[in-house]
């Protein structure tokens, strides 16, 4: 299991991700060429490393190709992110690369370079502002689900062989009533690795390896997680 996560770049976005991941006990490494910014993060208890991302040898020294499972390409320049993505993918095609983008145009280029996921924070923020103006209740609800730690939360549950969900139809499980949860969607391995929203109206047969995404209060999520883990 390759557990190490590397975050490239030093800015408010990369530190936000670092803080988020720190709570979840991942083997984190922050890499940047900005010594001062790294020192600040080091003070907060992160392990940091000065490195030049354009040098493949230095990338290998960071553990890419061996220990590293995920990298975040969070440079401010799209060109840097594209370069990093290509470099990393050429060393190890299996690494998951999540990249930041400044525009819809670069998002396509990053995808072409092999990034597994491209996040456009400005588009997300723009949509949020629009929602605040036009649909304030929706904005508040999303805020509660996505950013709120105390109320509702999102969880993914993997169907384990032999558990009570294995081999049954999703519609028959009545998760909504029994656990007070909403099933947002499912990855049905029989249909590919694509996430399918439950609103598509399909009734999926669950098998081992399928993944459910549910929304609910934290205790309800815990309960389902516990019971689905039993075989």
């Amino acid at each position: 299991m390759r557990e190490r996560v590397i975050i490239f770049g030093s800015n408010s976005l990369s530190s936000a991700v670092a803080l988020q991941l720190k709570d979840r006990n991942w083997d984190l490494l922050l890499v940047s060429s900005d010594e001062a910014a790294l020192a600040v993060m080091a003070d907060r208890g992160f392990s940091t490393r000065m490195a030049n991302y354009s040098d493949d040898e230095e990338l290998v020294k960071l553990g890419i190709g061996k220990k590293v499972g995920v990298i975040f390409a969070f440079f401010e320049e799209d060109a840097e992110n594209v370069f990093l993505t290509i470099s990393v993918k050429s060393i190890d095609p299996d690494i998951k690369v999540i990249s930041l983008t400044q525009s819809a145009d670069s998002a396509r280029k990053l995808k072409a370079a092999g990034a597994n996921k491209v996040i456009d924070p400005y588009e997300i923020s723009g949509r949020k502002i629009y929602d605040m103006i036009k649909r304030p209740l929706i904005a508040e609800t999303i805020e509660k689900v996505v950013y709120g730690q105390d109320y509702l939360n999102l969880a993914e549950i993997t169907v384990i062989q032999g558990s009570f969900m294995d081999g049954r139809m999703l519609g028959d499980l009545e998760l909504s009533r029994r656990y007070d949860l909403i099933v947002l969607g499912v990855v049905d391995r029989e249909m590919g690795d694509e996430f399918i929203f439950a609103s598509s109206g399909l009734n999926h047969k669950l098998d081992a390896g399928d993944v459910l995404v549910v929304i609910g209060a934290v205790p309800a999520l815990e309960k389902l997680r516990l019971e689905s883990g039993r075989t």
């Binding site: 995920v70 502002i129 999303i142 996505v146 109320y151």
Partner: protein
């Protein structure tokens, strides 16, 4: 003494009279107030009247229109005269001047005398009469008076009255008047050259010396015709000296013409952006609905603007970068180039009355805090949404008066954090937040006359509509069902995952997750009562 007493009494009565104020306000709207709705109609009427009266004047040179022509002329003059008097009346409030002087006298316990206020009133009215536009107005009326018929040529001054009614001509004059100093210099230079040249040509080319110049006026006429490079050629110099003067004058003429052109051109290039901005402000003022001010047209601003434009909301973009504003204008948005921390610019953009919201979306937190503070200072009630680019700025933005803050890093942190532990959940959140797959969270209102009221939620088969029912938003005073968990929002309560027995009431909002098509279809069916 009793006269002044009577006048003061009358002034106070006017000050108190609502009818007087209403009348005055009506005429103010009609004649002066640029924002009044009635004003454009009046302007168009006056423009037509001016044009037709000038047309009649020209037509009468050869033909006789008889009585109808005279009646038309009389009507036009009466209207012009009334307008002139009304403007004269509107210029300031006479009674206020009297009251002010009276109260001042009372305050310091001095006897009140009519002299100073009368003088002030006359002074003010005289000030009005000597403004260029008022003089033009007067010149458009006077020649109709028979004994002054010889002034008929001034009737053409009516055309100048058009200045009053057309904004663009007004702006033209304003721009040129900014270059007053250059024009003065030019005029003095021109007068000097013309006078010198006229004297010289008169000296050398007088009739008795064999030339064609009869009077000194002929000299001036010739000098102006030559210096303007028009050169009719009706008077031509015959002597060598005369020709030398002509050569010099022609060269001066080229200089004068190019100087004039460059002054006018530079006046307009300097003022062009301001003129364009004025258009934008006028456009904002034209509409009744309120608009949104977007400060900063970076990526976030662009996304917001795009969505607002799609839902036909009105907004104006302010950004200091000329290229960015040019881009906004290419997209068809209203844009002003300038920095939003400038209070005056914000006021012109309507922050005090006509704007309902201001979005501070620059990439610089210092700027966002400053704009937020300025906006809050200018309008205590406006809704301010600010972008925070750093964790530490969020609190400062709230302190500066922001109602909401949006932090791009927060969203990224939340979803990126999700990606490692729960990649599928990440996919779901990212799908909803970015709206890429067409899936979104949407509310549907239950109208008071809806057939669903009072019925249990299980009556609606959301699955067949390809929707997920997330919850129901109700008023805060609705007691939660025993089976359904409820969370409080700021002003409302959301009942998460309502159970089969949950009954809907009027004005509840259904929160649905689904494709936009499904939601539109569902709304449609709900409206038609065909659920």
């Amino acid at each position: 003494m009793s006269l002044s007493r009577a006048i003061i009494k009358h002034c106070y009565r006017l000050e108190d009279s609502p009818r007087y104020k209403r009348t005055k306000h009506f005429f103010y709207n009609l004649l002066e107030n640029p924002q009044a709705r009635i004003r454009p109609y009046f302007d168009i009427f006056m423009i037509l009247l001016v044009l037709s009266s000038v047309f009649v004047l020209i037509y009468e040179v050869k033909e006789d229109l008889g009585l109808p022509g005279q009646i038309f002329e009389l009507c036009a003059v009466v209207i012009f005269l009334t307008e002139y008097l009304l403007r004269f009346w509107l210029y300031n409030n006479i009674h206020r001047v009297f009251i002010e002087h009276y109260e001042r006298a009372e305050f310091v316990n001095l006897p009140f005398s009519l002299g100073p206020p009368v003088k002030e009133v006359l002074q003010k009215k005289w000030d009005y009469m000597t403004t260029p536009l008022a003089i033009i107005d007067l010149l458009a009326i006077i020649p109709s008076y028979r004994p002054l018929r010889f002034l008929r040529i001034f009737l053409l001054f009516r055309l100048f009255k058009l200045f009053r009614y057309a904004r663009s001509i007004n702006e033209f004059v304003k721009v040129l008047s900014e270059k007053r100093f250059e024009f003065y210099t030019l005029a003095i230079f021109l007068a000097f050259v013309v006078f010198t040249a006229a004297s010289a040509i008169y000296f050398f080319e007088a009739r008795n010396a064999g030339g064609e110049i009869e009077h000194f006026f002929d000299g001036i006429y010739w000098a102006v015709v030559t210096i303007s490079t028009v050169g009719y050629g009706d008077i031509t110099p015959q002597t060598t000296e005369g020709r030398m003067i002509t050569l010099v004058l022609i060269i001066c003429g080229i200089g004068v013409i190019s100087f004039t052109t460059s002054v006018i051109v530079s006046a307009f290039t300097e003022k062009m952006s301001e003129l364009r901005d004025n258009r934008v402000f006028a456009e904002l003022e034209k509409h009744k609905t309120k608009h949104i001010i977007i400060c900063g047209f970076g990526r976030v601003g662009q996304v917001v603007a795009e969505r607002l434009a799609a839902s036909r909301d009105r907004f104006v973009v302010i950004d200091p970068d000329a290229e960015v504003i040019a881009y906004a204008k290419r997209l068809g948005y209203l844009g002003i180039q300038g920095s939003a921390e400038d209070s005056e610019l914000l006021v012109q953009s309507g922050i005090q009355e006509r704007a309902e919201r201001i979005l501070c979306l620059t990439g610089n937190d210092v700027m966002n805090v400053y704009i937020t503070l300025t906006a809050r200072d200018l309008n205590a009630d406006i809704e301010i949404i600010s972008r925070a680019n750093n964790r530490a700025s969020i609190r400062k933005l709230y302190q500066a008066g922001a109602n909401h803050t949006v932090a791009p890093f927060k969203a990224v942190g939340a979803i990126a954090g999700e990606y490692i532990g729960q990649p599928v959940a990440f996919e779901a959140i990212h799908g909803i937040l970015s709206g890429r797959k067409g899936i979104s969270l949407e509310t549907v209102t239950i109208r008071p006359d809806s057939c669903l009221i009072g019925r249990p939620i299980s009556d609606v088969d959301f699955v067949s509509y390809k929707l997920i029912l997330f919850g129901v938003i109700s008023h805060l005073d609705r007691v939660p069902d025993q089976d359904t968990v409820a969370y409080d929002l700021k002003w409302n309560r959301i009942h998460f995952n309502p159970k089969a027995g949950f009954r809907l009431s009027a004005n509840d909002l259904l929160v649905l997750i689904g494709h936009e098509y499904s939601i539109t279809h569902f709304k449609d069916r709900l409206e038609s009562g065909g659920l």
